[in-house]
Symmetry: C2
Subunit: 354 residues, 2 copies
């Protein structure tokens, strides 16, 4: 479907006359605009792109869809002054992103319009990536794979988690990443048992497991990968747990296809971990969509069920976390195909002992 | 005023029964909690802190105000189950942060409550920093000053803007910053004429002016500083413009005190630039508050007028941008005192020629 047709379908299915997009990643997806302030008005088959004076040049270079307007002040006031929504009674807005004060402003500017909050307008469309988007995500992941390769020669006992996190950021930026897609996680020893640990000054020691979760943005698109290293020979249980997580991940990679729902895919990995007796230690979802945001719809989880579609790019990241002892997580990004999936991640998953 | 008294005053002045905080920097300011998911319910002199299972331990370590609750699922559902808002008819919510879909969830969970959106609830209180907060901001700025000192020996012609940006991030993280407070700006030659330029692969050349705007987070609090360097001997106009910006900044630093409004302070610097004939090239506000967020209330601008108060920490950052040629910006962070201000920034403002 053409991207504007997605907006038209939303307008029709909600019996509305128009739609206003305000969430910047959605606006970037629709128009190509990479700035920080804009809105898109769609009505009667036409779309208007409205930004402020800072982006006059950039919007002309970037925006591929719609008539470009540079507002002298408030974007919504300009929309009203230009009568873009004349004759529209019911106008859809993005319920999960629009704030109460912004809606109040809209109502003041357009007192005769009835605003209709709708959630998830573009979720299913944004989730399916084009060939070009896949290339851009693979480009970002290539940097992350290179940085992991660098880390295998860099990480040594005696370094702190923060030392390694600083190196991860530096090496991504040196390789052309515009920013990190999230602050990297470097969690060693007992800290690795916390799925969302922040890097501390704890120093890596013999016998530690070290969970490293990292990714970057390049050309707007995110990468995301987790690997777990061992510092010196790991204990027997750590080796066992590593193998269970790897088996669970392999099972999910084999199973992943549009024939499953997101919940069934989560279950494919989770059942391996449960059968090994570690079910209660896999406390988070199996994965999530990745694209212009590091976390996108759909969540791949036992909590909700969504149909999987060819073209979606998602993470597969099972983990086991033994409180106060250690944790293991292994995460790849994949793209679903008609019959299975392609793995976009190139780094080794054999347990590396440093 | 005690921090809970600020909430009580807001409840009373809006003729309400209770208040719900959902914006994380405000919750951190009130309770000390540094996690990513929580809400605070305040009613009848009592406050309840509600978070999810991931933060059970952390909330016990950090939260200083209120009864701590760990919700098994939705935070708002837990609030209802625990009858925290029983007997409350009018409940204030944060208008500029709460989304339409979140309000919908609240209404479903508490159908008998009338939710009252109010903006800027904590603005004036958060803006005035305690002694402890000033120390934490000065700590973050100390790192940024050290990194600037490092850059004076590091920056050379032939390096790209991106090379320097990567070094800036690396040096901040190595010195204990938890993250950057924003992606650093390194804008050279004609790029320096764009106030919000992103680092590119452009290589520094003789005759360039280079605007460097950077800051970090440590212990939750932000730093923010801009300096402009010259690569080789700058042209005559660049030297003139540098001096005008420096004079404008000096004037604002002399004038800054609680005797002025934010608009008058902006004007103190702006009039120097206007008198020198560059008024139309100073396109942004003079400054903004800094604290748990890199940009806080108040904006120091010609667009709105706020009373300045002793204790506020704000930036003073005049700039002149000559399109397609070069730009100059000089930015310090200051804390207003009863009679003037203290400068929290230690880096030299003499024009450094590299």
């Amino acid at each position: 479907m053409d991207r504007l047709e997605v907006l038209q379908a939303c307008v029709e299915s909600n019996d509305a006359d128009a739609l206003i997009l305000t969430f910047m990643p959605d606006i970037r997806w629709l128009t190509g605009f990479s700035g920080s302030n804009a809105l898109v008005v769609y009505t009667k088959g036409r779309s208007y792109f409205v930004t402020d004076g800072r982006y006059a040049t950039q919007s002309r270079d970037e925006v591929e869809a719609g008539e470009i307007h540079v507002a002298p002040g408030s974007l919504m006031r300009h929309t009203a002054d230009q009568k873009m929504l004349e004759g529209s009674n019911r106008v859809i807005v993005q319920a999960e992103y629009l704030t109460l004060s912004r809606l109040e402003e809209y109502k003041n500017v357009l007192p005769d319009v009835s605003f209709v909050p709708v959630s998830g307008i573009l979720n299913a469309s944004v989730a399916v990536k084009s060939k070009r988007e896949r290339e851009l995500i693979a480009d970002s992941q290539r940097i992350t794979d290179e940085v992991f390769d660098h880390l295998l020669g860099f990480v040594k006992p005696g370094m702190s988690e923060q030392d390694i996190a600083a190196e991860i950021v530096y090496q991504h930026l040196r390789r052309g990443a515009s920013a990190m897609s999230f602050d990297p996680i470097v969690a060693s020893g007992p800290n690795s048992a916390l799925p969302h640990a922040r890097p501390t000054q704890r120093v890596l020691q013999q016998g530690d497991m070290v969970v490293i979760d990292m990714g970057c943005f390049k050309n707007g698109y995110a990468s995301d990968m987790t690997r777990t290293l061992a510092i010196g020979e790991p204990g027997e249980e750590a080796r066992t747990v590593y193998q269970v997580v790897l088996d669970a991940q392999s099972k999910a990679l084999e199973a992943a296809s549009p024939n499953l729902t997101s919940k069934e895919l989560d279950s494919a990995a989770r059942s391996i971990i449960e059968d090994a007796g570690y079910g209660s230690f896999f406390s988070h979802s199996l994965g999530h969509g990745v694209g212009l945001q590091i976390h996108e719809w759909p969540s791949v989880s036992w909590k909700a069920e969504y149909p999987l579609q060819a073209g979606m790019i998602i993470t597969i990241e099972p983990g086991i976390y033994i409180p106060d002892q250690f944790g293991v997580r292994i995460e790849d990004m994949i793209q679903l195909t008609e019959t299975g999936c392609d793995n976009l991640t190139g780094s080794t998953k054999q347990l590396v002992v440093i």
